[in-house]
């Protein structure tokens, strides 16, 4: 156990964690950024190595402190967590490459050390949640992620004071969600005497009829629904995304809610098991209507927004509806659609938010009324935005098409009136997405440039990462072996493992 590669599971979480306090001590604009970017790159590299190892040799377990589970805490990398690790570290690295120019404009220099420390902590939290195999350890890292994200969102206050209330609202709602999760885990511990996820899953069938377990499952599902902003628990999300600094929005849009989805999948499929989740709990009846209501109503709300960031935030809630729909269908193809969409949406949405970040950098506003003619002022950025928008709508060749395709397949497989109804509703929702993206396009290309506005592109250091995301989204829309292949294997693994 001395080889470095055997320590990879812990390195993924511990490297950003230990870099955070070091980062906090540095002043200046360049050093904290450079440290954070390099660290994030390291986690990306290690995640890929872990994933390769998992594909070749099956799940990896790592015993923290050398204590065997369930006495000690265990780190588990399987297909799903490896997939999430790569996604999170990749998005984080891409966003950080972008951040240099953007963040020095939005956050005062003397705070950058602490700012990037908080960023690293948020990254640690997300990676820690995905890699751990211990239900209480999840809570600890959930807290790290949440606390740092409250602080990061509040940093938007340098541009708009409303960021403070947004962060406060998120803090209150997020804390309620986390407490629900903790209550649920506490009840499960009471009934099983263990906190290790695999161990709970093994002992679950014996006790699944008991009332405390029903209550525990309820608390955990609702707590996570709040954390992942499932409609109608989404109220915190639009405000937070709107007022947070650009890079934070881009980072969280791709990752934070997805971590919540990951936990939900983990609990529904691994801990509770398919039979209990959809038999005893009848989660389909609860999640399916919420998902459908979510993607329909939120797409409509998005149409009426005057602020691009808020528009995209509501669109995010709608997209989460698709993701949850896949879970609610309770089938292998549904789960596969969910996982594919987690990946695709994360890349597309981060790319979109980054291009909005470019617009903000140049135009100083993200309100539609201030962005008239932005398509001619910043042709490269806006074209990127439009391509990302196409991905959101689900035009063929874009990643959005792939995930919607699988959702439709899963719906048809579900069969009956519900299945075909879902297909129709998915189409309606896509049309709504066309409308809200078109609103931006109209403002960007068909309105006159206001007097005195200069024609200027964002700096290359911002444009390149933005286009990296957009290009990646097209790459994964056409060449789908990675995302679809892994999603398929993961779905089979989760359904089979239950």
């Amino acid at each position: 156990m001395t080889a470095l590669s055997s320590q990879f599971p812990i390195i993924v979480a511990i490297v950003p964690l230990l870099a955070a306090p070091i980062c906090a001590l540095f002043r200046g604009t360049t050093l904290p950024w450079a440290i954070t970017t390099i660290i994030s790159g390291i986690t990306f590299y290690v995640s890929i190595q872990l994933m390769i190892a998992v594909i070749q040799g099956g799940p990896i377990s790592y015993e923290l402190g050398g204590w065997a589970p369930p006495w000690g805490i265990e780190y588990v990398v399987d297909l799903l967590s490896g997939f999430m690790l790569i996604l999170i570290s990749a998005i984080s690295t891409g966003v950080l490459l972008f951040s240099r120019e953007s963040i020095t404009r939005e956050v005062p220099d003397h705070q950058l050390g602490l700012f990037f420390a908080a960023y690293l902590l948020a990254l640690t939290g997300m990676l820690g949640i995905c890699i751990t195999g211990d239900a209480f350890n999840v809570f600890v890292f959930l807290e790290i992620m949440s606390l740092s994200s409250y602080a990061l969102i509040a940093m938007g206050a340098n541009e708009d004071r409303r960021a403070l209330t947004a962060a406060f609202q998120y803090l209150i709602i997020g804390t309620v969600g986390a407490s629900f999760y903790l209550i649920g885990v506490g009840l499960i511990y009471m009934m099983t005497g263990t906190l290790n996820i695999a161990d709970i899953a093994a002992r679950f069938p014996e006790i699944e009829g008991a009332r405390p377990i029903l209550a525990a499952a309820g608390f955990i599902v609702i707590g996570l629904a709040i954390k992942l902003a499932l409609f109608p628990f989404h109220v915190w999300l639009p405000n937070s995304y709107t007022y947070a600094p650009s890079i934070i929005t881009a980072f969280f849009a791709g990752t934070a809610t997805k971590v919540g989805v990951y936990l939900l999948i983990r609990f529904i499929f691994t801990v509770f098991g398919v039979n209990y989740s959809f038999g005893g709990l009848e989660l389909t009846d609860i999640l399916l209507p919420l998902a459908v209501l979510g993607f329909l109503s939120m797409s409509v709300v998005a149409i009426y927004q005057t602020n691009i960031k808020r528009l995209l935030a509501y669109s995010s809630v709608a997209q989460l509806g698709y993701i949850i729909l896949g879970i609610a269908l309770a089938s292998e193809s549904g789960l596969m659609a969910t996982i594919v969409h987690i990946f695709n949406h994360a890349i597309v949405k981060s790319g979109l938010f980054l291009s909005v970040g470019c617009m903000f950098y140049v135009a100083g506003s993200v309100y539609l009324k201030d962005l008239h003619g932005i398509g001619r002022r910043m042709p490269v950025t806006t074209f990127g935005f439009v391509l990302g928008g196409l991905g959101l709508i689900g035009v063929p060749l874009t990643p959005g098409f792939i995930s919607k395709w699988y959702l439709v397949v899963a719906s048809i497989e579900h069969g009956g009136v519900i299945g075909y109804g879902l297909v129709a509703l998915l189409m309606v929702s896509s049309l709504l997405a066309v409308i809200y993206i078109w609103r931006v396009v109209e403002v960007a290309y068909f309105r006159d440039i206001p007097e005195g506005a200069e024609k200027k592109e964002a700096p290359l250091s911002m444009l390149v990462p933005t286009w990296l995301f957009i290009a990646a989204s097209f790459y994964f829309g056409i060449e789908t072996t990675f995302n679809v292949g892994i999603a398929k294997a993961t779905a089979a693994f989760l359904m089979g493992g239950s």
Binding site: M1, Q7, I10, I14, L17, L18, A20, P21, I22, A24, L25, R27, Y62, E63, L64, G65, G66, W67, P70, W71, G72, I73, P108, H110, L114, A118, L121, T124, G128, D134, F136, N137, V140, F141, E143, I144, L147, S148, Y150, A151, A154, M155, A157, L164, F180, I183, Y189, M190, M191, T192, G193, T194, R203, I207, A210, R211, P212, A215, G218, F219
Partner: protein
């Protein structure tokens, strides 16, 4: 238990926020008593120190900023009430099939715990089993919690510092903060009260000694890094309250605090990294010394120290950040340049 409910209801009904804060302190102490009667001494200790001690001080610090009267009668909000009642109802529902409390054949007592109880004396050799579970078996959780504290400290520093600059323009017409209400708690100290001065001068050394005892005696009795850190911070805060913030700053200034918060986390993580370098897994203390039990001792001692340092520094950071605000306003109105220097 009844006292707890009565206290909580009283907090809700009282209109004066200062009274509410005091009542919250009482509630916390009652909670601590309940924890003791449930044989969870370590938890009770923490609750008393954090809930009744530090939080109360922080609330008072905040009240000094915002005034102690509620501005308007808060509206009756049915939504949250319904949520609370629903949560209560579900918990009550869940209690029906709960295993009976204290029964030896409960799942909690039969699965993981026996190993902790039976083997921890030989594997870790620390008399206080709670400490061995917290610091070794589940040491990584504790590391995570320390990081949570660190995150909280960073967050407070980030948010409260950024508003410093903004206030500059506003503060010139903000005289009320200079009089009694904010004054005694900010930089000025309670200069006229002889009794608190003498008493606290006598008390502070004892508090520090007690904190150190709790810190290093955590292996044997209840206590450990968290509690010790809080007590240590409480000592400094008491000092600051009575003598004024400037004196406390002379002992530990803000730059040192930032350094200490980071140092605690790094110390804890450093132990983990060293154990990795020595060929074990992360936080595997067995490899720290040739004798596994001695290694465990050393490891626990070091990580508890790391926890203590981070907790102390984070508590102080939060306290300074809140309490330093009114003082800052006075400073900025007289000398607008000062906070700029101080920041570096």
């Amino acid at each position: 238990m009844l006292l707890l409910i009565a206290g909580a209801l009283a907090v809700l009904s009282v209109r004066n926020l200062f009274v509410a804060t005091m009542l919250l302190g009482i509630v916390s102490f009652t909670m601590a008593l309940i924890f003791i009667s449930l044989d969870a001494v370590d938890v009770a200790f923490t609750e008393a120190a954090v809930g009744a001690g530090i939080s109360t001080v922080l609330y008072i610090g905040t009240l000094a900023l915002v005034g102690s009267q509620e501005r308007e009668k808060s509206k009756f909000a049915p939504g949250p009430l319904a949520v609370c009642l629903a949560v209560g109802a579900v918990l009550y529902y869940a209690t029906y099939e709960m295993p009976r409390y204290g029964q030896p054949d409960n799942p909690v007592h039969t699965h993981v715990a026996p190993r902790y109880i039976e083997d921890s004396p030989t594997e870790i050799g620390v008399p206080n089993m709670v400490t061995s579970v917290l610091a070794s078996y589940r040491g990584y959780d504790t590391f995570g919690e320390t990081t949570v504290i660190f995150t909280a400290g960073i967050g407070v520093l980030l948010i409260l510092r950024q508003r410093r600059r903004r206030k500059k323009e506003v503060t010139t017409e903000d005289p009320p903060l200079r009089d009694g209400k904010g004054g005694s708690i900010s930089g000025l100290g309670s200069a006229h009260d002889l009794v608190p001065h003498v008493i606290s001068k006598l008390l502070v050394p004892f508090i520090f000694v007690f904190a150190l005892y709790v810190q290093f005696h955590g292996d044997y009795g209840p206590g450990g890094g968290f509690q010790a850190g809080v007590i240590f911070a409480a000592g400094i805060i008491l000092y600051a309250l009575v003598f004024g913030l400037d004196f406390a700053r002379a002992v530990v200034n803000e730059k040192a605090i930032l350094f200490l918060i980071s140092a605690g986390v790094l110390l804890y993580g450093g132990v983990g990294v060293v154990s990795m370098l020595l060929g074990g897994n992360f936080l595997d203390y067995n490899v720290l010394s040739s004798d596994p039990v001695a290694g465990q001792h050393l490891g626990i001692l070091l990580v508890e120290l790391g926890v203590g340092i981070t907790v102390t520094a984070a508590m102080l950071a939060i306290f300074y950040a809140f309490v330093g605000r009114p003082e800052l306003l006075i400073e900025t109105s007289t000398n607008a340049e000062q906070p700029g220097k101080e920041r570096n």
